[in-house]
């Protein structure tokens, strides 16, 4: 919150200096700016009112950091008091804080229904989806941090580049060289096979698993649970054919592929889509061993 206060002080001092050389364009700009400031103040007042009227309020401790802003170079926690209503999620509370107190509070979100995978956060010491986590289920005050083991870009936003690189490394798309014979024939999957890969298809690329993994934290080359799960989804898909499966196994059985998994189950614990990640990794290990073990 203090960031915004200093910003506004700077703005007012520069606008005074420029007042003499005011053009029509500048006048319009300054009126708009004043209107925005008034709107911000109004929002803050409204928040005060709502807090007064609310039965329950919840305190958020939110991680703040921005290497490009003078007052935010040192990481710190800001506290926001938000009126609580039944069914309120962590994301709802964050949006309330952003809209009413500090518009510079930065976090990713999009669909708000646990499908887009944008808002994986470290809430009360655990990786969770902000939109899926009920405030009522948490201990208060609620502490919200960016995902651990990733570089923080700003506030709650982390750099996802490494995660996406790992996902891409396993070629996360359907590919085959076995086509059905008829010209208009479809590539049909058996119900059993669909059931087998069903859970693995639910991944939303939120990176909660990658962030929770002890091994991925120390070893940057490790593919990580999400990528291996992606490899599982296609390696186990019978429509891809035997040759393609060999190719997929070649990727995951490298030194920093499946073998690094120590079956700690932290990925399975935090996965917001309940994918049995560790089991999938173990199954791929077995596949790889069976594939290579020859007694003759």
């Amino acid at each position: 919150m203090s960031t915004q206060v200093t910003e506004r002080e700077e703005e007012s001092s520069t606008s005074e200096a420029e007042a003499e050389t005011e053009s029509a364009h500048q006048r319009r700009r300054l009126t708009e700016k004043a209107a925005r400031a008034a709107e911000r103040d109004a929002m803050r007042e409204r928040a005060q009112e709502e807090i007064r009227d609310a039965e329950t309020t919840v305190d958020l401790k939110v991680f703040r950091y921005d290497p490009e802003v003078e007052g935010k170079k040192e990481p710190r926690f800001d506290e926001f008091t938000v009126p609580f209503h039944k069914g309120m999620t962590v994301l709802d509370a964050l949006m309330y804080a952003r809209d009413h107190y500090d518009s510079s509070l930065t976090f990713r979100h999009s669909c708000r229904q646990a499908v887009c995978g944008s808002d994986a956060l470290f809430v009360n010491g655990r990786q969770r989806l902000g939109c899926k986590t009920q405030l009522a289920d948490l201990d208060w005050p609620v502490r919200i941090e960016p995902l651990p083991h990733a570089e923080v870009v700003k506030d709650l936003v982390v750099d996802m580049e490494h995660f996406y690189d790992q996902m891409e490394a396993v070629e996360p798309y359907f590919q085959t060289n076995e086509y059905p014979s008829g010209e208009l024939e479809e590539q049909r999957q058996t119900r059993e096979n669909r059931e087998k890969v069903k859970m693995s298809t639910r991944c939303i690329w939120c990176a909660a698993c990658m962030s929770s993994c002890n091994i991925a934290a120390g070893d940057n080359q490790y593919l990580g649970p999400a990528a291996i799960n992606k490899a599982y989804r296609f390696a186990m898909d019978e429509r891809e054919g035997e040759e393609m499966k060999q190719h997929r196994l070649n990727i995951i059985e490298q030194e920093h592929g499946v073998w690094r998994c120590q079956t700690q189950f932290s990925c399975t614990e935090v996965c917001p889509k309940d994918i049995p990640l560790t089991e999938h990794i173990q199954e791929l290990k077995r596949e790889a061993v069976k594939n290579n073990l020859k007694f003759w």
Partner: protein
């Protein structure tokens, strides 16, 4: 992954052996504790008693196998834990051969001790 070169043999052999030795060690370790901590208490262990036990062929072979599997399991475990922590490059090579040498020395010395305690050979 296309330009990735490594001396690592992607066959999962070491992973499988780690599992198999673990299963073996659980059983033999239970047997060891049973025999040498509960049936014969630690205070009652004598060199003569050891020599008698070690002179039985089955027991002798089990103990030698115990030594070899435990050494592999331990050394391989430490190596993998370090790789998990991000050990790479020269350090990794040094650790790999250092641990392999240490394991080898342990087995050689262990076998020497075993032979000293037996009358079979």
């Amino acid at each position: 992954m296309a330009d990735y070169y490594s001396s690592f043999e992607p066959k999962g052999t070491r992973w499988l052996l780690q599992r198999l030795t673990a299963a073996f060690l659980v059983v033999v370790l239970a047997f060891h504790f049973m025999l040498l901590h509960f049936v014969n208490h630690a205070a009652e262990i004598t060199f003569q008693g050891t020599a008698i036990r070690m002179s039985q062929l089955g027991y002798f072979l089990t103990m030698v196998l115990f030594l070899v599997t435990a050494t592999f399991h331990g050394v391989n475990g430490v190596y993998n834990a370090l790789v998990n922590q991000g050990l790479s490059g020269t350090g990794k090579t040094a650790v790999k051969y250092g641990l392999a040498l240490a394991g080898l020395l342990l087995i050689v010395q262990g076998v020497r001790v075993a032979l000293a305690m037996t009358t079979i050979i």
